[in-house]
């Protein structure tokens, strides 16, 4: 299976830099400490006004910092834009492999690497310093796995969308920034989205960004019903179909214009 091999290769490629990444993890943890400090400072003496206690928020931020490496910090445009710039995309689209799977399997390899060499070490740092939540009910672990998987698929799709847009715009830096900003802003990276001000807090739960960060974290903390996985599932289906359709459009465009 070619996609499995691509996935493995991508995993191994990242292994070369594992020591550098481990140092980077320390910085990632410091970001987490800063956000936790903000929440602890904010909630001091006000815990009864808030749906979350300071400890809740500590767990929340710690979990977010871990999951960001699985569904937040993906390769900009999944590097599709490079293929568009140097013309290699025409070749890649012509291969007897599915282009969507060809691109995404490499990113999955990277994310699996991130799981072992970024998320888990960062989680370990938090559990040794500020503490890390441990789900109390067995089914949570099952739902958590599905939710994280869906979160990864949603985020990969969002990044694929940004990357493939290069076929029409050539330059995707800005699209990546907008996507990333929405992902962390409306995905609940710093603020749980139910705490956002009025109009936002009623829209954001139904956007894909919540499915990438907020829902898996809340399921992990056992603070939300597992039914939200259905919202994630809808986005998984919608985004994947849309991207497959868009890939065909891109192929069509390149065939006519010759790249």
């Amino acid at each position: 299976m070619v996609y499995w091999i691509l996935l493995q290769k991508s995993f191994m490629r990242n292994m070369q830099y594992k020591v550098a990444h481990l140092i980077n993890n320390a910085a990632s943890a410091i970001f987490g400490f800063v956000f936790i400090a903000i929440w602890v400072g904010v909630l001091q003496g006000k815990e009864n006004e808030s749906p979350y206690s300071a400890l809740d928020m500590t767990y929340y931020i710690a979990a977010v910092q871990c999951i960001l490496w699985l569904s937040g910090f993906l390769t900009a445009g999944l590097n599709i834009q490079n293929g568009v710039r140097n013309g290699a995309i025409s070749l890649e689209l012509a291969r007897p492999t599915n282009y969507f799977l060809y691109v995404t399997s490499q990113e999955v390899g990277r994310l699996l690497y991130n799981l072992f060499f970024r998320s888990l070490p960062i989680g370990l740092v938090f559990s040794l310093t500020v503490g890390f939540y441990i789900p109390q009910h067995l089914p949570t672990y099952f739902f958590l796995c599905i939710s994280i998987l869906f979160a990864m698929i949603i985020s990969i799709n969002l990044h694929f969308l940004v990357g493939i847009s290069a076929c029409w715009t050539t330059e995707i830096d800005w699209a990546h920034f907008v996507n990333f900003t929405l992902l962390v802003g409306l995905g609940g990276q710093l603020v749980p989205i139910d705490l956002l001000p009025a109009p936002l807090s009623s829209i954001t739960p139904y956007l894909p960004f919540a499915g990438a960060i907020y829902y898996p974290v809340m399921i992990f903390l056992e603070k939300i019903s597992s039914e939200v996985i259905l919202i994630q599932l809808i986005w998984v289906v919608v985004l994947t179909s849309f991207n497959l359709w868009l890939t065909e459009k891109a192929r069509h465009k390149l065939e006519i214009q010759g790249g």
Partner: protein, 322 residues
Amino acid sequence: MIQAQQLNKHFKIYETKKGFIGSFASLLSTKHHVVKAVDDISFSVEEGEFVGYIGPNGAGKSTTIKMLSGILHLTSGEIKVGGLSPQKKRKEVAKKIGIVFGQRTQLWWDLPLRDSFDILKEMYKVPDEKYRQFLKLYDDMLQIGKFMDTPVRKLSLGQRMRGDLAAAMIHNPDILFLDEPTIGLDVNAKTSIRAFLKELNQNEKKTILLTTHDMDDIELLCSRVIVINHGQIVLDGTLEDLRKNIGLPSVMEIQYRVKPTTTDIRLEGIERMTWEDEKLVIDYDRSLLSSPLLLQKVTQWGEPVDIQMKEPDIEQVIQKIY
């Protein structure tokens, strides 16, 4: 103009470990071995000389150029360029020399050539009047006027090299260090750059030190050749001296339709014959055996499909000096 006395440059090669922490760990480790990149070299170059500085890859050419221009410090020895030590007076020496690295440009990638020149004019504090003369003169010599307003990234390799050469001359230095200025260029570009360098040396009396892998550069330009190998000078003399050692090394490649049976004719001047299936490669010395004569012989041996003349590898040429 250039004096180098008993130059030594030793590098400590630490046992490197892979990765990030590894690079720190190898900082602290004391396990290392010493590589003598330049091993007790002395030479001096007079005003107006055109010196070819040649040797195989890793022989110490670049290290020497870097020491002459003040980029690298010495392990021991002494250098004077235009009467000053490039190690102690790097900035003053920089004003007296022009440097071109063939492998990488020193022009501003996204800017038109003219803007790069404007910036360098300010950097070297060239007076307006001198600058105008420079532009006029170098447009005549290198025809850079045609692409003065094109961004450097859009120039062809040959145009870019002409731009780089002009940029190195903007402050009218007396000494030029050229590190493989003809690398990767096509025949036309090489010819025009050689003509320019020749003019620079003969009319402007510039002192030039050139490293190259191209034997033609040496034969057409250099009045003197210094050959370096394993960090040591193995030959320092005129082009004639080099000839006496190596002759006029040439290579001919003949592709036969069928591999001939009788080729064992002993001709004076043939140094080596190697077969690769139906292809015969002959290393010979042009000063002993003329190419037309050899051509005549090889067609007698069999029916050639294709015949090519090739430039000899400088690595092979150097081997012969021993």
